[in-house]
Amino acid sequence: MESQELIPHLFRTEYRKITAVLSKTFGLEHIEIAQDIASDTFLQASEMWGIKGVPDNPVAWLYTVARNKTLDYLRRDKLFKEKVRGQVVRDSSAGKEVSLDLSSQNITDSQLQMMFAICHPALPIESQIGLALNVLCGFGINEIASAFLTSKETINKRLYRAREKLRAEQVKMEFPAEADIESRLEAVLKTLYLLFNEGYYSAGKDVTLRKDVCIEAMWLTKMLTENPGTDRPPVNALLALMCFHASRFEARTNTQGETVLYEDQDDSLWDATLISRGEYYLNRASVGRQLSRYHLEAAIGYWHTIKADTPEKWEHILQYYNELLILEYSPIAALNRTYALAKARSKREAIREAEKLNLGEIHLYHSLLGELYLGIDDGKALECFKTALSLAKSRADRQLLEGKIGRLYGQK
């Protein structure tokens, strides 16, 4: 790989490792310093490698530079040195050495601890997601702003406040106590789930970036399955669910970047490898008695990977949506349940249920109602799609609805 391709790749994989190890060493209250040193390391890499070529072992090179930059930093900042010196610098016969523990065990532990720290329940959820994107996934301010469809200033402020909150709450980089692990892990899973959804459903135009967000969320979840302390059924269920969703990544956007709805997708584009990975993790999730929302969503995801469009398939999906809603209400689940009801039973039954939903402010509600009325009362369907269009915000949603309205006019 040439350095211009290699550096972004290494940035994704190594930035979080260097940041996590340094934050662990300095203490999480100094996370900015850790991030600065990690960023500087990559800046130097892009300067040097462009001129001198890529070193034989780029990762080792990055770690050495990070180590030297840490030592430089300690030399410059006396006050900081007093605080953290004992943990970093040791005097040896050969002079002063920086002892950064960059063993793979410490790298893994530090990353996991960073995950728990960032997903601390004291932090507002959007701060958690922002920090996760920035610190754990190595996304820059520009990328995060583009993923969230917001300005750089907003993201900068959000990250600043999030780091302040970490300090105020004195969040430490450590594994939660055994008694707390279940509830802390739940918070981590929620953030990873939302992180994945941010990539999967966001209205952002940059498809590659959105896919990267999903891949990073999956990578972090996979890391939890690889650690005995966190390899629990809901974690595996979440990863299964992500695999099933991600299997449709290629099929759900056309060459013009427009959204392709599930029923219109070319199922030969569904990724069989990801589907079988999903099945593997769903099996691993199916131990013990705990039935989390991720189990139910993974089961729904699994049935969506079945190509044959049978009432049996939709009956399964309907029953899992029933369970999911009984466990925890969400408007999207309510709409999806109604769609499944139409497929498993009849459109008329689904219309009756849809009318009770009280979700008139959401454009998706009117899109769904329009779908249900198609073939029963096309005039009413047209009305629904128009209402949906007046409420839809994203370009992709508007394109989809304009297409539907256009086709209905075409038939007249």
Binding site: E323, A334, L357
Partner: protein, 113 residues
């Protein structure tokens, strides 16, 4: 919004006489009905089913078998829902599959202490 308790009463022998297929169908109807309430965001507590056996403790600490000595009807379970009015809650209860099996639903507003 107010909370309401739905108390389900039926003859316990009705369920005992069901074939596995009938049980399956009945289960599905219940899930559809409760799922429909949950889809409106109006399910407060999914409640539980109650076992047929039980004791009733009466004054003088007399314990008698079973809650249902005078009648064949027994409380089989409960859920809690949210609605504006008693009549809205009662409207929701009309969809309960127990009505198809000869049972009934008692709808009671909950008074928060």
């Amino acid at each position: 919004m107010n909370d309401f308790l739905f108390v389900f009463r039926n003859d316990p022998s009705v369920m005992a006489d069901m074939s596995p297929e009938e049980l399956q169908t009945s289960m599905q109807k219940w899930m559809d009905w409760i799922g429909g309430i949950a889809a409106q965001g109006k399910l407060v507590d999914r409640g539980n089913r109650l076992a047929n056996e039980g004791n009733v403790i009466r004054p003088g600490k007399v314990i008698t078998d079973g809650p249902y000595i005078e009648t064949k009807e027994s409380v089989g379970g409960f859920i809690m829902v949210r609605a504006e009015t008693l009549s809205e809650a009662s409207e929701m209860a009309k969809g309960c599959p127990i009505l198809l099996a000869g049972g009934n639903v008692e709808v009671r507003p909950i008074i928060r202490m």
